[in-house]
Symmetry: C2
Subunit: 381 residues, 2 copies
């Protein structure tokens, strides 16, 4: 099923509001795509255009209020949000700021603190000049931190959210299985990238916002470069890492293939990656921390020397390609059932790297793979 | 050719620096994907991940300095930027802020003003909490406005940039020609969306960040909704509007088709759209303003009644799907050769709308279509 029952949004808002009471916030002010969508269900690819700001207010009581450009009114009216206030954007003299000030002034008392997501992984999606105008316009009402409320809510997924992520994972899994149809010795990497995105769409993806990868002799130099036009060669390790979307939710995992026979060093390194993600899977139980998963993987990976530069060994996943928490030594987030994580060990092999990634759901007891778990033998094309 | 000669980036930086002298700015601080890429050439889809902030500093003299997560070091080293300072991100206690403070303190005098893009279509892509830490860390050095410098530069394209946009347009043009292969009575709109993105990739797109459209009886309700699973019916008008990317540059135009025979009202409305974009094309000469193009189109469109809610009738185009200027009555940006614009007239037809869009380059004298100009007859599938 696409979309969500209204009860899903009601529950999200109620959970936010109970935390807002604790935090003494009169409202949340949300400006980015996932934040607005989380509480409203407003799903569109139109955010690709940087022109217009969009605002959703979650008051401490009552339903969210949308303060948005008129071009979005018809679509927002299809969500559960009823109070929709629009202006004709872009407006070069007042691009929604006074409408936003008026709305916040109407619903918040004079000593209100209005919370914005302000921590890691967030930004305020409105012009800095308008943000300052908003602050001035609010007078005694103050813009402050949301104290991590939105992050905390989004980190633990509902059953309906998990189903959407699983659907995205299943689509990617089928596309990865078909890679031998499109990749092999002599095929240019940029052609593999294009054809792989077509496979993702053919298997049911709504769109493919993210594809990265690499293919060099015995590994790759990094995992974020655009694909080159050079052909795959025997001895290359091809890696494709995709974040495709189904109904607004991402998968994020990769697969590796050796073009022809891999060296023993490469095969051993790959097996070490799988050993690391298997070990993290075993450790990924309620009560363990994000740091624990890092440490479990790092203990195995550090048998090999060398830093991949990635900065972490996995992360949360959901409405965004990457979400809280981070699998790093300093992230002591305690795992809870219904968190969705990626396990993403990386390893240096000579002057190259190899990276493997799986997606899992934390459950009571053992977790559950939602990407099709890879075996310890590097597949060959 | 992919990428740019180094001279392209040198010229961009020199133009920025000469304006920075006038504006008494010691440096520009850039945080978003197109801003960082414009001065560095740093091209990656990794920005899809919201986790890590990225910073590029353009000092008033000398080359740009990158202050970035270590995961991007290898790719940034392939650009013309030589001074690359990295930290291991995410860092929960100091996510690049002190490294950024140290770098700005090193290169800017104590009374410096550091310019950030702060006007329409911009935002600061870093956590608000970190932005406040940055301000405090800079002490007497002040974060101010870039006074529109980045916008002004990006608005006028180089020949190499225009070639990339033209390449994207040509790819989309070929994909649009093939729509009769994938769309027709009974085919679900979401299937058309998936298949059309595959056509774009098949014709050479690197990726397809944006696809919108609609298909209802005699028009569509809006142009930003996700595609429904309902099948096309006789009498529907199908519209597809894509922003696909080639080598980091967008096209942005649409095409309409009638499923079976269209009514006279729909055909007349469509012909009016083409008349409007043709008239704007004729008016789009150096010295005319963005507002002039709006007025030319609006005079024709307002023979029909009704507002489409779009808020404008076209915009700039380049590294982003939508850029400055906006074709609205209040945007008095004077057109110059080498600006790339979309002409995007919309019209109400009963309770539905129709939208048409072309892409053009402003030249000395008459402009030039870079999308394959549509005729005044609504094509039928």
């Amino acid at each position: 099923m696409r979309g969500f029952e209204t009860s899903e949004f009601q529950a999200r808002v109620e959970r936010a509001q109970s935390r807002m009471v604790q935090a003494e916030l009169s409202a949340l002010l949300l400006t980015t795509e996932p934040e607005v969508r989380y509480f409203s269900g407003y799903l569109t690819r139109f955010w690709e255009s940087p022109t217009r700001p969009w605002f959703l207010i979650v008051p401490v009581t009552g339903k969210p209020i949308a303060v948005i450009p008129s071009i979005g009114a018809a679509l927002m009216a299809q969500t559960w949000v009823q109070d929709i206030r629009t202006w004709s954007a872009p407006d070069l003299t007042d691009d929604g700021v006074s409408l936003l000030v008026d709305t916040l002034t109407e619903i918040c008392p004079a000593d209100a603190v209005i919370g914005l997501p302000d921590g890691h992984e967030t930004h305020v999606r409105m012009p800095l000049g308008d943000f300052h105008r908003l602050q001035r316009g609010l007078g005694t009402r103050r813009l402050g931190s949301d104290q991590g409320i939105v992050r905390a809510l989004r980190m633990v997924k509902s059953p309906a959210e998990i189903t959407k992520i699983e659907t995205a994972c299943a689509i990617a899994g089928r596309a990865f299985q078909r890679v031998p149809e499109i990749a092999g010795e002599g095929v240019a990497l940029d052609e593999v990238f294009r054809r792989f995105q077509m496979l993702c769409l053919d298997e049911g993806a709504d769109w493919v916002p993210y594809l990265a990868g690499g293919a060099e002799q015995g590994g790759y130099t990094d995992v974020i470069s655009p694909a080159r036009a050079t052909g795959l060669r025997l001895g290359d390790v091809l890696m494709l890492d995709t974040g495709l979307v189904w109904d607004g939710y991402f998968c994020d995992f990769d697969r590796n293939w050796s073009v022809g026979q891999a060296t023993r060093q490469v095969r051993d390194a790959y097996a070490t990656l799988i050993e690391a993600s298997d070990a993290a899977f075993e450790a990924a139980r309620p009560g363990a921390t994000a740091a624990d998963l890092f440490n479990v993987m790092n203990a195995i990976l550090s048998r090999n020397s060398g830093d991949t530069g990635a900065g972490r060994l996995g992360h949360g996943l959901g409405m965004s390609l990457t979400e809280w928490p981070s699998l790093i030594p300093s992230d002591h987030t305690v795992l809870e059932p219904s968190m969705v994580l990626t396990l993403e060990p990386g390893i240096a092999v000579g002057d190259k790297i190899l990276v493997h990634e799986e997606n899992i759901v934390i459950s009571d007891g053992a977790p559950r793979y939602i990407s099709p778990r890879a075996g310890s033998e590097l597949p060959q094309i």
